[in-house]
Every structure is written in structure tokens, then in C-alpha cells.
């Protein structure tokens, strides 16, 4: 028996665990995955199916491990634009979050301190801020500067990208050494839960982490309160974890699966699914890359993370008509190496050497993800035919692009072409998603959306599932809209806010 049972040890779950443990709660974290430095077994791979008109693809960038996705991500941590949370009020499209940027800002500040975000304080185009970043910014790369200078006078600014990656030693983590393995940083210069919130939670002495513990069902009583989590170990042995409070913080498809699978007389279609909203309004940012060649040398591949982006179209006046987007500038240019310039030529010997010297290293590449609307028809359900290793139906995605998102992708392509033209670039190559595919950049969101109206949301504005007083959701599943920026910082801010709410309710005896 614990005070709190947290399902999932990623940033969201460990953040809540840490905060509640600091308040004196005894917390058990159940994590299905293992240490990611070990070979990842099949049961920790993500399996899913598709039934919708487009094929949603994210298997290749996801697996289950201690620390969750925080152990394999790139560390981009821009704040949301204020209007990302208020698109209905600001642009008359989509809907508003049940909180404003100003309400979220204290938690964004704390999330930046948790992660040790390195950012530039003096860029007026970023989301407003009241306090400096915890760490000084990563300087713009050589190619960032070329693009910035080339766009000078165009009204399209190039902004520094805040990074959860150390520019100086920070809270026990070393300074980045540019080892080139940036999404699975071997020295924790890029923040992960195991080097921050999860470690701190365990250090309180009031948190127990149980790995390889796959929660297969939540049991509830007649009043709808969750009483215990049923979990199985790798040998298939079943266990029960009782607690007063439960935090559902697995990644989006698994959290949805668990709720839908946990049926009972009180919840015949799944916990919290009385309005058939669990799994609905699922969203992600799809991928569109484009590259080109410019006159100057860009000296690519000397840094394997991003240091700049173009936010010009992230909250443009025509956001009512098309999905908004961020254009990220890649420092790793997407060429395999100088050898790629030996293709398509019959040269050899010294002429080939001269050709490679002249042609290699002039590339620029952009990476773009576009906002999609929260449409109830885009949903995650349980696959009726296929189960995982524990007999639980796998997630089945039913996803489609609306005209708003498609207009956003068309606009993104045109904007990148506009930039290339200003830069006098040549050999432009677009790499859009193939027709009928949504290739995830691993920003799954929605499906467990928060809101004030139980008819259109799964949780209240603080993540408490409607009608279930002792079950909260943490994670990007809460997002009512997906916005344009990378979601991790906002997700952690929400987890901190949820923790604060729980402490407040507990102190009033309302849990």
C-alpha cells in the first residue's frame, strides 16, 4: 500500500512523484520498461495498428524504458507561444486551453529549472518570460548565422532554440561535451528523468521504483474511485498495487489503452470514458523536411542538435486558415558524408578531390512540423484483433488530416521555398510526408484532453479524470490543442501544476 501509485517513470510521472514525495507522500512508481542501456526486449517495443485513412507511424522513435521518452529525445525546450493556448480567442479557430500562458508561466519557469534549460534571454520574439534561463544559451551555429544574416531585412528572424542540454555544469550534471550521441546522451548533459526528477524522487527515500512492472488494469470501486493497479512482471506473475491516489503517466497510447481496458460495471466502456472521449482528439506533428545548397560553406555536422529555429509562421495572422508551424534549422545536414558527393559523377583522382572540396558542406536543411486540429474523429482505440505480450489489446490509431493541417503543410513548403529564394539557394529538395502517412516526430498529444466540460474532455483543467476523484493524468495526453512547439517543457509544467493541485486538494481533505 502506498499513498500514491504513479504509472510511468518518464518526465511527467517522476515529476509528480518527486513533488508529492517532497510533501511527505510515499510513492510507488510502476514502470513497464527497463534500463535503456540494456538490450530492449520485444515487450518494450511499441506495437500498434492503424485503421484510419492515413497510416500513423511512430514505432521507430519510441520504446519503453526507465525514464520513458526522456531518455531518448533531442532536448528542444521552447516555451509555447501564448496563443498556442488561446487559438480560439486569438484566431477564432480550434479552442482555448482551460488555462492561460500567464497561469502556466510559473510552472514553465520551474520546469526550466528542473531541466536546466539553456536559452537566450534577449530574444524578443520568443514567448514572454519574467526570469532568465537557468543556463546561458547555446550560441548559433555557423549555418544558423549564415541563414540569419541572409534573412536580415526580410522580417523573418532566426531565433535561438532553448535546449535542455547543459552549457555549464548544472545540478550534478556535467557540461555537454559534444559527443555526438545527442538523443541518448551518455553523460546526461542532455536532461533525462533518470538524471533529474526520477533521481531526485528516489533520493527522497519515499519513492520506490518497480521496473518491468506492466500495469494491465485499474480496479475501481462502486463510487468510481481507483482502488488498485494490477500489474504483471516479465514472468507473467500478477501483482496488486493499492494506493490512495493514482497518477496515470504512461505515454499517450498506453495511458489510453489502460483506461479503455479497465472496464467495470461503473465504467462499462473504460474508466473516465462515460462521454466516449478517452482516446479522442489525438494529435501529432507530422514531418516535412527540405534542403538546399547555398553559396557559402555551412560547415555542417559539427553539432548534432539544433541551435536555432524560425518561429515566423508559428502564430501568424493567417493561423485561422491553416495549421501553424515552426521551421527548425538542422546542424546535421542530412548528407551521409563527403562520400555522398562521389555519386553522380565519373570523376576520380585529384579532380574528384577538388570536386568534393568545392561541393561538400554548402547544404542547409529545415525540419518542420505542422499543427493539426483536435478532431474527435482522430482517436486511439483498442485493437479488436491483436494483443500484446500480456494479452492487452494494442493501440489502434484512426487518424486523418483535415484541410487545416493540409493547408499548413502547403504553407510550410511555400515558406521554406521563400526562405530558399531569399538566400539565393539552389538544388532545393523537399521531403514531405508520403501521401497517406503521418510520420510522427514523436509529439503525440491529446486523447486524454483536459477541459472544463466533461462532454468534451477527459480530465478537469488540472488533470483529474472527470468522475474519478483519485485518478490524475500527467503527460501530453492532456493537451487540448497541440500548438507548434516541442511539447516537453509544457508537459512538465503541467505535471508541476497537477502536483500543486493535488497537494492543495489533499490539504483540504478533498481527494
Amino acid at each position: 500500500m502506498s499513498d500514491v501509485c504513479v504509472i510511468g517513470s518518464g518526465f511527467s510521472g517522476s515529476t509528480v512523484a518527486h513533488r508529492l514525495a517532497l510533501g511527505g507522500s510515499r510513492v510507488t512508481i510502476l514502470e513497464t520498461g527497463i534500463d535503456h542501456r540494456q538490450p530492449i526486449p520485444e515487450r518494450c517495443q511499441v506495437r500498434y495498428s492503424n485503421v484510419g485513412p492515413i497510416r500513423y507511424m511512430f514505432r521507430d522513435v519510441s520504446f519503453r524504458c526507465i525514464g520513458g521518452t526522456s531518455e531518448h529525445w533531442y532536448g528542444n525546450t521552447p516555451r509555447p507561444h501564448p496563443n498556442d493556448l488561446q487559438t480560439r480567442s486569438a484566431h477564432g479557430v480550434s479552442e482555448d486551453w482551460p488555462l492561460t500562458y500567464e497561469e502556466l508561466e510559473p510552472h514553465l519557469e520551474e520546469a526550466e529549472r528542473v531541466l536546466g534549460v539553456a536559452g537566450a534571454d534577449d530574444e524578443p520574439h520568443h514567448a514572454p518570460r519574467r526570469v532568465p534561463f537557468p543556463l546561458p544559451a547555446w550560441p548559433l551555429s555557423h549555418s544558423d548565422r549564415l541563414i540569419r544574416d541572409g534573412l536580415a531585412g526580410s522580417g523573418i528572424p532566426v531565433l535561438s532554440t532553448p535546449q535542455a542540454r547543459t552549457t555549464l555544469p548544472y545540478r550534478g550534471r556535467p557540461r555537454c561535451l559534444n559527443l555526438g550521441r545527442c538523443n541518448t546522451c551518455p553523460i546526461n548533459a542532455r536532461t533525462g528523468a533518470t538524471s533529474t526528477s526520477l533521481r531526485w524522487a528516489l533520493e527522497t527515500g519515499r519513492v520506490e521504483l518497480v521496473s518491468e512492472a506492466t500495469v494491465v488494469r485499474l480496479e475501481s470501486d462502486e463510487q468510481g474511485r481507483i482502488t488498485e493497479a494490477i500489474w504483471v512482471d516479465p514472468q507473467g506473475q500478477s501483482h496488486r498495487q493499492r494506493a490512495d491516489l493514482f497518477i496515470l503517466a504512461a505515454h499517450v497510447p498506453d495511458s489510453v489503452r489502460l483506461l479503455l481496458h479497465s472496464t467495470s460495471p461503473r465504467w462499462p466502456t473504460g474508466i473516465g470514458n462515460g462521454e466516449d472521449m478517452v482516446g479522442r482528439c489525438f494529435m501529432d506533428h507530422g514531418r516535412h523536411n527540405a534542403n538546399a545548397v547555398i553559396e557559402e560553406r555551412t560547415w555542417p555536422n559539427r553539432l548534432y542538435f539544433q541551435t536555432a529555429a524560425i518561429h515566423h509562421w508559428a502564430d501568424a495572422p493567417d493561423r485561422a486558415d491553416r495549421g501553424a508551424y515552426l521551421i527548425e534549422i538542422l546542424n546535421y545536414i542530412g548528407v551521409a558524408g563527403p562520400g555522398s558527393f562521389t555519386r553522380g559523377t565519373d570523376l576520380w583522382g585529384l579532380p574528384l578531390k577538388r570536386h568534393i572540396r568545392e561541393s561538400w558542406g554548402h547544404n542547409i536543411q529545415f525540419h518542420c512540423g505542422v499543427e493539426m486540429l483536435p478532431d474527435p474523429v482522430n482517436r486511439i482505440t483498442l485493437d479488436p484483433d491483436e494483443v500484446d505480450a500480456h494479452g492487452i489489446p494494442i493501440a489502434r490509431f484512426d487518424v486523418r488530416f483535415d484541410d487545416y493541417a493540409l493547408a499548413g503543410y502547403a504553407s510550410a513548403a511555400a515558406s521554406m521555398d521563400q526562405i530558399f529564394e531569399i538566400l539565393d539557394a539552389r538544388d532545393v529538395v523537399h521531403r514531405p510526408m508520403r501521401a497517406g502517412q503521418l510520420v510522427s516526430i514523436y509529439h503525440p498529444a491529446g486523447g486524454l484532453r483536459m477541459g472544463r466540460d466533461p462532454a468534451t474532455s477527459v480530465t478537469d483543467p488540472w488533470g483529474q479524470i472527470h468522475g474519478v476523484p483519485n485518478l490524475f493524468v500527467a503527460g501530453t495526453g492532456l493537451f487540448p490543442t497541440i500548438g507548434t512547439v516541442n511539447p516537453t517543457l509544457t508537459m512538465i509544467a503541467l505535471a508541476l501544476r497537477t502536483s500543486e493541485r493535488i497537494e492543495s486538494l489533499a490539504s483540504q481533505g478533498d481527494l
Binding site: N178, W299, R302, G337, G339, W348, K353, R357
Partner: protein, 190 residues
């Protein structure tokens, strides 16, 4: 720093292969063991010598290193690591080179025995007017993959101004990425 100096300073084969990326299968080997590694056991020395001479001619040294014996052996090792048929198509391709030697006026001689000028003349004949050899194992699997393999290797990166393959070579360097680097030979006539 030349590649030979690096080796004298103890750049291990493990380091070399890690930075090369694709050759992880050979991590357990060390430089001294290289001479006894599989390629030399599978192929007769004459064929190895011809391949090395071919590599030296395809990528000659100028202000940056050219392709040397160790680069050729590493290429062979990598090819065989992912393609067990390598010895078959390699032997099938080499008669093209042997036939080309006649252009040098040295019928029956090994390619490796020719002077640098003669080797160059042979390759001008075979590569600039390849005829039936175009698209063959000789053209694509040997010549083009030897060239591409070199330029994608850590040593190949020196041609475009990097100390070697980035990633590990820049470890500890979190400042130089903000400015231009120096392209070797820029402004010079190699």
C-alpha cells in the same frame, strides 16, 4: 596532423572503427592485428597489392592524405562484414584491371608493379572510357565503393577540412561550431 602521425601517437583501431561508424563488427581488432586479419588470409598478396595500388591511384595524396593500404584493408573488411559474396564479385571484377594493364605496354605485369604514371594511364583507359565495364562489378562494386568508402571514412573527412569523422573528433569542443573551419588547400593549387 597527418594520418600517419595520428597512428604514431597511438590512435587505436578501435577508435578508428568507432568513428568510421559502419565497421563496428571489427571493434575487437587492433592495429597490430590488422596485418593478420581476414582479408590477407582470404586473398592472395598479389590481389591485395593490386587493390592497394588501385586505391592509391583513385584517391592520390595531395594536401590531404590519399587512400593507403590500411584504408583498402578496412574497406575490404567492411564489405565482407555485410556481404559474404565479396570475394566472389571481387575476383570477378579484377580481370578488368588486369586487362587494362596492357594499355601500359606491360602485358602480364601486375597493376601494382606499374609506375604511378602507368597506373594513372591504365585508369584513364578503364574509367574515362569504360565501355562494357560500366555498371559492372568492377565499375560499381570495386571502383565506386572504394572511392565512396574512403570519402566517408574518418580520413576522408580530412579532405573537407575536418580533423576526422565528426562526433568523436569534436568531443570537448563546443565552441568551434559557431564559425567557419579551414578547408585544406583552399587557395592553393594541389
Amino acid at each position: 596532423m597527418s594520418r600517419f602521425t595520428e597512428r604514431e601517437e597511438g590512435l587505436s583501431r578501435r577508435d578508428f572503427m568507432v568513428t568510421a561508424g559502419g565497421g563496428l563488427i571489427a571493434l575487437s581488432l587492433t592495429w597490430p592485428a590488422l596485418a593478420q586479419s581476414d582479408p590477407l588470409e582470404i586473398f592472395e598478396p598479389e590481389l591485395i597489392n593490386d587493390l592497394v595500388a588501385l586505391g592509391e591511384t583513385l584517391v592520390p595524396e595531395d594536401v590531404t592524405p590519399g587512400m593507403g593500404r590500411d584504408d583498402v584493408l578496412r574497406w575490404l573488411e567492411q564489405r565482407m562484414a555485410r556481404d559474404r559474396d565479396t570475394p566472389i564479385w571481387l575476383r570477378r571484377a579484377m580481370p578488368t584491371l588486369e586487362a587494362g594493364v596492357e594499355v601500359a605496354g606491360e602485358p602480364g605485369a601486375r597493376f601494382a608493379a606499374l609506375s604511378a604514371e602507368q597506373r594513372h594511364a591504365v585508369l584513364v583507359h578503364l574509367l574515362d572510357d569504360p565501355g562494357e565495364a560500366s555498371g559492372s562489378d568492377w565499375d560499381l562494386r570495386v571502383v565506386r565503393s572504394l572511392i565512396e568508402g574512403f570519402y566517408n571514412s574518418p580520413i576522408g573527412y580530412t579532405v573537407v577540412g575536418y580533423r576526422d569523422h565528426t562526433g568523436t573528433s569534436l568531443a570537448g569542443d563546443v565552441t568551434s561550431y559557431t564559425g567557419p573551419a579551414q578547408m585544406p588547400g583552399e587557395g592553393e593549387t594541389p
